[in-house]
């Protein structure tokens, strides 16, 4: 019994060692928590900054859209019929009398059509028959075609 107690006491750790182990473990946990918190905060801060940027860009998009509308309207004001007439008159232009108009026969001229401001909703498909073979043939096909051409040219030159 004494022997067992002796062995136990011999191999048990000193109290100060146990305390250091606990302190070390707790410190390690704290450091880990701090690291995780730090990473989380960093990512969260970045996400917040990006979120703010997105909101700011959305506001900018709306403002730019408005500015675009403003510019179109401003251009229309500058090009309005009354403004244009005033400018033309100030430059010395006058309405042409009908008897001074000279009509010419211009081959291919077509009557002026209504304005096209956007593509038609009829979808256009690129016709495959207009696609040159360079875009579709493989190198072996190319070699085969050219070899055949070379061979036929050789035959033709023979008397």
């Amino acid at each position: 019994m004494d022997q067992l107690e002796h062995i136990t006491r011999a191999y048990s750790q000193a109290p100060w060692r146990k305390q250091w182990q606990i302190i070390g473990l707790v410190s390690l946990i704290l450091v880990l928590i701090a690291m995780i918190a730090g990473v989380y905060l960093s990512i969260s801060a970045q996400a917040t900054a990006v979120g703010r940027d997105i909101q700011s860009m959305q506001a900018t998009t709306i403002a730019v859209d408005r500015e675009n509308e403003d510019l179109q309207s401003h251009l229309a004001l500058i090009l309005s019929s009354s403004e244009m007439e005033e400018r033309a008159r100030s430059l010395g232009f006058v309405p042409v009398p009908p008897e001074q108009i000279v009509y010419l026969n211009v081959p291919g001229y077509e009557e002026r059509q209504s304005i096209i401001l956007a593509p038609s909703n009829e979808r256009s498909v690129v016709g495959a028959r207009y696609m040159p073979p360079e875009f579709t043939e493989s190198i072996f096909e190319w070699l085969f075609v050219h070899a055949r051409l070379w061979y036929s040219s050789m035959i033709e030159v023979q008397p």
Binding site: Q58, D65, E69, D70
Partner: protein, 599 residues
């Protein structure tokens, strides 16, 4: 154990017990609340709504209103930045200063602004609008005053210190009409509430304005999301030509002033397609000042007489009567009618415009001298059934379906109607007792100019929506006449103008046309001296490119269409042929023959 230790243990026990009880009771209450929320869906919805509101800001996305273009791509209606000026009630320091400032700079009523700025802030009242649609220039002035006031009184303490704190302004898009009053009767306008009134703006309000969407924007930047894409309103390309419209407006304005008329209307249509190239009426208003509407259009004044005001057209209607007579074979151009100066139909005696007897006349002569008696006689030969069947196929008494708000249908009394009498067959022949709008008349008569085919009047050429341009298809709305009838009548009308040396004749271009002078009916009959003077004409006769309809309401210088309306037609055509690049007939024939020679 000492007494002190026992006391300490008891205190500790009490604390532990308290904490234990609390830990047991709180979950119980939480459980109770969970059960209550589960069994009461309204409570659940309220809780959810409160959470949503506390975490989000409500934001309404209003798409840009679609633009309006003329056929050449000139912008007729667009958008610009305007501001809504209001007060954040919680922040207001001095309501009087705010009211005085907005009253002085923006012209808002002082008492109204003061009442709005003085509202007490509460959960239900946080913001009050003072004025909307304020242009950038005025906001710039307001900003300068606000800045100066902040600099002057920022550090001043005490009551009644002048302050504009709480005054805010938010930008949004508002309507602008770069051409001011040009084509105003066609376009209509958009009110402060962003609702379209009259014309295109009203007719296509839903299409132009698009669909607004209210969204919840998270206040937490971590939850920032993409704003949903709300497509802008569709834009429209009109068939109107800005330059032609402007020229026609100038011409009709001069005509109204020169003839002392109450109003004037001038319609230009391409008879081949039904496209309306110009539609000029009086009065017109600057659409950028739409709040002056009631001043410009007092009482029941129509916004667009061409489509909204039906009137008795008078002798221009004879074109349709003659067309019917020729088409059913009741008469031919060579049919001779001996005009005795009067004819009795249904118990009513009909006389000519000058009460005179014109003797033997062929059908061209009847049109040339605009003989009521002759045309009434033609109707007796045509028969009521045929006549009214043709009038219906010409669209008289029905809306044309033009893409403008407020179109009137006019009135065509038919046999069987309570107020139809046999005499109406005679009076209707020369445009009396029948009401039609100028656009109805123009569309109906365009069948004569277009080989008997009547095209639907078109004012919207194409729609631009979500990046694509959709062309509006042209529609045939009827074929009331045979092509040969249309051709014959066109030559008869051209000849009648040439024989009488009409003021409507245009040098270099052969045109066909007919004058019209109609007495204005009163509740007591045709008792006033006032008339409606009209003219309808088209050309070039061999290949019509335009049809022009002129109406002057109650001219005072002369009551006759041949005197006041015919010269307006000539002036309009002289301008049109230049703007449409139409060479004189002989030059055109030479050019065509040279092209044929080359081919």
């Amino acid at each position: 154990m000492s007494r002190a230790a026992t006391l300490k243990d008891q205190e500790r026990t009490w604390r532990y017990s308290f904490v234990g009880v609390m830990l047991a009771v709180l979950p119980f209450f939480i459980f109770l609340q969970v059960v209550r929320i589960q069994i009461d869906p309204k409570l659940l919805e309220n809780v959810r709504a409160k959470i949503e509101i506390s975490q989000h800001a409500q934001h309404m996305i209003v798409p840009a209103r679609g633009q309006l273009y003329d056929r050449r791509g000139n912008l007729l209606a667009g958008n610009r930045t305007v501001y809504e000026v209001g007060v954040e009630l919680r922040d207001v320091v001095n309501a009087q200063t705010i009211a005085q400032t907005v009253s002085a700079i923006l012209g808002v009523d002082y008492q109204d602004a003061l009442a709005r700025a003085s509202l007490t802030s509460s959960e239900n009242a946080v913001y009050s609008v003072l004025v909307d649609n304020v242009p950038q220039e005025e906001i710039d002035k307001l900003a300068v005053v606000k800045e100066q006031m902040d600099a002057l009184y920022a550090k001043t303490k005490g009551e009644n210190v002048p302050s504009l704190i709480g005054l805010v302004y938010y930008p949004h898009l508002g309507r602008i009409y770069p051409e001011s009053s040009l084509a105003s009767n066609i376009l209509g306008f958009v009110s402060r509430e962003r609702k379209g009134y009259f014309g295109i703006e009203e007719r296509f309000d839903g299409l132009l304005s698009g669909t607004s969407k209210t969204i919840l924007v998270p206040l937490d930047p971590n939850r920032a999301e993409d704003l949903p894409k709300v497509p802008d309103g569709a834009s429209l390309v009109l068939t109107i030509d800005r330059e032609i419209q402007r020229a026609m407006e100038e011409i009709i304005d001069r005509a109204v002033a020169g003839s002392g008329s109450d109003s004037g209307t001038l319609v230009v249509v391409d008879p081949r397609t039904g496209e309306v190239l110009a539609l000029a009426t009086t009065p017109r208003m600057d659409l950028n000042e739409f709040w002056k509407y009631s001043q410009v259009f007092p009482k029941d004044t129509p916004f667009n007489r061409a489509v909204s005001q039906a009137y008795e057209p008078g002798s221009v209607f004879k074109v349709l009567t003659m067309a019917t007579g020729l088409d059913v074979g009741a008469v031919t151009p060579d049919t001779v009618f001996v005009d005795t100066g009067a004819i009795e139909i249904g118990g009513t005696v009909i006389y000519n415009w000058n009460q005179g007897a014109w003797g033997p006349q062929d059908m061209t002569g009847c049109l040339q001298h605009s003989l009521n008696v002759c045309l009434a006689w033609i109707n007796t030969q045509t028969g009521a059934n045929n006549f009214y069947r043709y009038m219906q196929s010409f669209g008289i008494g029905h809306v044309t379906g033009i893409d403008l708000a407020g179109e009137a249908s006019g009135r065509l009394k038919m046999p069987g109607d309570n107020d139809w009498y046999a005499a109406d067959l005679g009076t209707n022949a020369f445009g009396q007792g029948v009401a039609a709008t100028p656009i109805q008349m123009a569309v109906a008569i365009s069948a004569v100019a277009n080989k008997g085919v009547m095209m639907a009047p078109q004012i919207v050429n194409s729609v631009i929506s979500e990046g694509y341009q959709h062309q509006i298809e042209r529609r045939v709305i009827g074929v009331p006449l045979k092509p040969e009838t249309a051709k014959t009548l066109t030559h008869m009308l051209a000849r009648s103008l040439e024989v009488e040396s009409s003021d409507a004749l245009v040098t270099g271009y052969r045109v066909a046309g007919k004058t019209g002078t109609a007495e204005v009916p009163t509740p007591f009959g045709y008792t006033s001296n006032a008339t409606n003077a009209s003219f309808v004409g088209w050309g070039p006769v061999d290949s019509p490119r335009f049809l022009v309809y002129v109406w002057l309401e109650k001219p005072t210088t002369s009551p006759w269409g041949s005197v006041v309306a015919a010269p307006v037609f000539r002036e309009a055509v002289e301008s049109l042929v230049v703007l449409l690049n139409l060479p004189p007939d002989d030059v055109r024939r030479q050019l065509n023959s040279s092209i044929d020679g080359q081919n």
